[in-house]
């Protein structure tokens, strides 16, 4: 029973190798079977250890805890594990009828699942680094999977930028090791209270935070994300936006917990980093015309909102940020999967050229509308819950509240723009029946609605806070939402649709690779200034 984490990590790895070796015709069944076994084991494990997660700490090999590698779980990692399993279910259902090269695709996909589950459970810093690099390499291969020109350039941009970020993370690990003599995270958390506050400690903190920021796509090192998520296949984009980016945020939370004993005041700095990320993401999203690029920039902006929640010292707002992580995984995957189907039918990615989706593909339209309502924060859907928690954590007249309000308006404007695709006459014929894709999208849409209304058991079980005051049925919430959409529509009609010169300039602004690295160093120096020199 206590070894289930290891089995959970190795089932996908071994399954992926078996799928690659024996090119059976019905490999989908094997994939489903493996996923089912893992889900059952995970549920069993959670129910067994609920309430007593300190007992889940195992050291592989039975060695002394400060020398060997150990795995540990708690409520947060269990919730992420369930999210991982669910997202992978969606992806393998969606890509059910994929094609001839399915073996290689499933090989990389399942290996990634095993690696990601290891990342969530690992308690050893160098092990985290190995999993980090593995994720980077597999995601690079998945981005370049389509083998067209733009995939290659996105893949190499992603690979080099993320590798340099992860090497900075390794520098942080080195400095910690020589300070503490061990790289076991639970041990370091306890030892942190006894160690004095030195420049070495702060330098290791900022190196690790700098490395994580590249992976989590924070401002100003997020430039790899729109490229990578915009050119990958829809299922891969859904996976990346929904889950892999959250891996970086999960590590952000874990490392801040590691350094809790040292008492760094990181809250303000990371709030403003999150705010900048959110604002810049929305600005770029408003200016784009390519549907997948719009969604990718929205991922950046939602990550900013999550960071605004995660950086706060108030426990409720913090858990609002964690909850937004889950909600975003649901609705962003839904939007990407739907966008993938629409693009395949209409053969173009520009929002301006797609019209009449509501008549041509009614089922997909319903799912996309559910996704759009969730991301803009409509009541009765899940985005509303987490956004409200974060917003109500700030005082009504503070700068923070208005920043979040502005980001909400920007998001709504962008989706009003995207909603234009639904209107208009039927222009393309759509004879195909896509059972697999529709099933996946329906499950995600149902998830959005369920989490929007019946979320109390989830939050009590995983976070310990019921949040029951937020979701009460209050006519004022509908009124607020209507006002937001109204303002968004005004902005759309009079500013965005005219495509003024500034918008065009923003759209064509490309950050070259050397500039991205230059900006990364500026970010590191800003971190240094904030944490060491001030």
């Amino acid at each position: 029973m206590i070894n289930i984490p290891i089995i959970l990590i190795f089932i996908p790895v071994v399954t992926s190798i078996l799928i690659y070796l024996f090119k059976w015709r019905h490999m989908n069944l094997i994939a489903f079977a493996a996923q089912l076994v893992m889900t059952v084991l995970a549920i069993h494990y959670y129910l067994y250890y609920r309430g007593a997660f300190e007992l889940t700490h195992i050291v592989l090999g039975g060695w002394d805890a400060r020398i060997g590698i150990s795995l540990v779980n708690d409520e947060l990692s269990m919730s992420f594990i369930f999210l991982t399993l669910f997202t992978w279910w969606m992806v393998i259902i969606y890509t059910y009828a994929f094609g001839k090269t399915k073996h290689t695709f499933l090989f990389f996909l399942f290996f990634l699942q095993g690696v990601f589950l290891g990342l969530l459970q690992s308690n050893d810093l160098f092990n985290l680094f190995v999993f980090f690099e593995l994720t980077t390499i597999i995601v690079t291969i998945l981005i370049a999977y389509k083998k067209v020109g733009e995939s290659y350039r996105a893949a190499i941009y992603y690979l080099l930028l993320n590798t340099s970020g992860v090497l900075i993370f390794l520098l942080g690990i080195i400095l910690i090791y020589f300070n503490f003599g061990t790289i076991n995270m639970v041990e370091i958390t306890q030892l942190m209270h006894t160690v004095e506050d030195t420049t070495l400690l702060r330098l290791s903190y900022l190196f690790m935070m700098g490395g994580i920021s590249v992976k989590a796509a924070l401002f100003p090192v997020f430039t790899w994300l729109p490229r990578a998520h915009g050119v990958a296949q829809s299922a891969i984009s859904a996976l990346l936006s929904g889950l892999i980016v959250k891996g970086g945020l999960y590590l952000f939370f874990r490392l801040n917990f590691l350094y809790e004993g040292a008492g760094f005041a990181y809250s303000d700095f990371f709030f403003y980093v999150g705010a900048l990320t959110a604002i810049v993401g929305v600005m770029f999203a408003l200016s784009q015309k390519d549907m997948k690029q719009i969604l990718a920039y929205h991922t950046v902006s939602q990550v900013g909102i999550i960071m605004m929640g995660l950086s706060s010292v108030d426990e409720e707002v913090f858990f609002g940020g964690v909850m937004h992580t889950f909600n975003h995984a649901f609705f962003k995957s839904l939007l990407f999967l739907g966008a993938g189907m629409i693009i395949k039918v209409y053969r173009t990615r520009k929002v301006g050229d797609i019209r009449g989706v509501a008549r041509t593909m009614p089922l997909v339209s319903i799912f996309m509308i559910v996704g759009m309502l969730s991301i803009t924060g409509a009541p009765l859907f899940n985005g509303f819950i987490s956004k409200s928690i974060i917003m109500y954590g700030f005082a009504e007249t503070s700068v923070r509240y208005w920043i979040l309000f502005a980001v909400n308006i920007g998001t709504a404007t962008s989706f009003v723009k995207m909603a234009q695709i639904f209107f208009g006459p039927k222009t393309v014929s759509y004879p195909m029946r896509h059972l697999a894709q529709n099933t996946a999208m329906m499950m995600l849409a149902l998830g959005c609605i369920i989490l929007g209304n019946f979320y109390i058991p989830f939050t009590t079980g995983f976070f310990g806070i019921p949040f029951d005051t937020v979701g009460e049925f209050h006519i004022g919430h509908f009124f607020d939402y209507a006002v937001t959409v109204g303002i968004a529509y005004m902005i759309f009609r009079f500013i965005v649709a005219k495509d003024y010169r500034p918008i065009r300039l923003i759209r064509e602004y490309q950050v070259s690779f050397e500039t991205a690295n230059y900006v990364f160093i500026v970010y590191l120096v800003a971190l240094t200034t904030y944490f060491i020199l001030i």
């Binding site: 690079t140 067209v148 733009e150 290659y152 350039r153 190499i156 690979l159 070259s512 050397e514 690295n517």
Partner: protein, 112 residues
Amino acid sequence: MNPILTFLVVLIGFYGLSTSTNIIKSVFSVTIIESGVILLFLNLGNFEPGSIPIINDETVMIVDPLPQALMITTIVIGSTVTAMALMLCIKVFHQYGTVEWKEILRREDIKS
């Protein structure tokens, strides 16, 4: 003194990353950064005097073997990242005809 100079190697690698307009130079810069990080860890590991971590009957004290083991893993990881990056460079060259970053990121006409 040694760790400080090795960190200088890492910074040189970052300088290279931030000023090279050519993809191959960026790959080289990442390799330099990685070599610098590996040397830094090994240098810090040898901080206290000792002999190599292979014991026979006369060993008095050894150097810390953990950094050396971790760096073996890092070297393997670094070489695989370099291999993948170079293969992607070749493919980018086949598609775009150039290996300059600005050209590649600007051209919108290559879609398939």
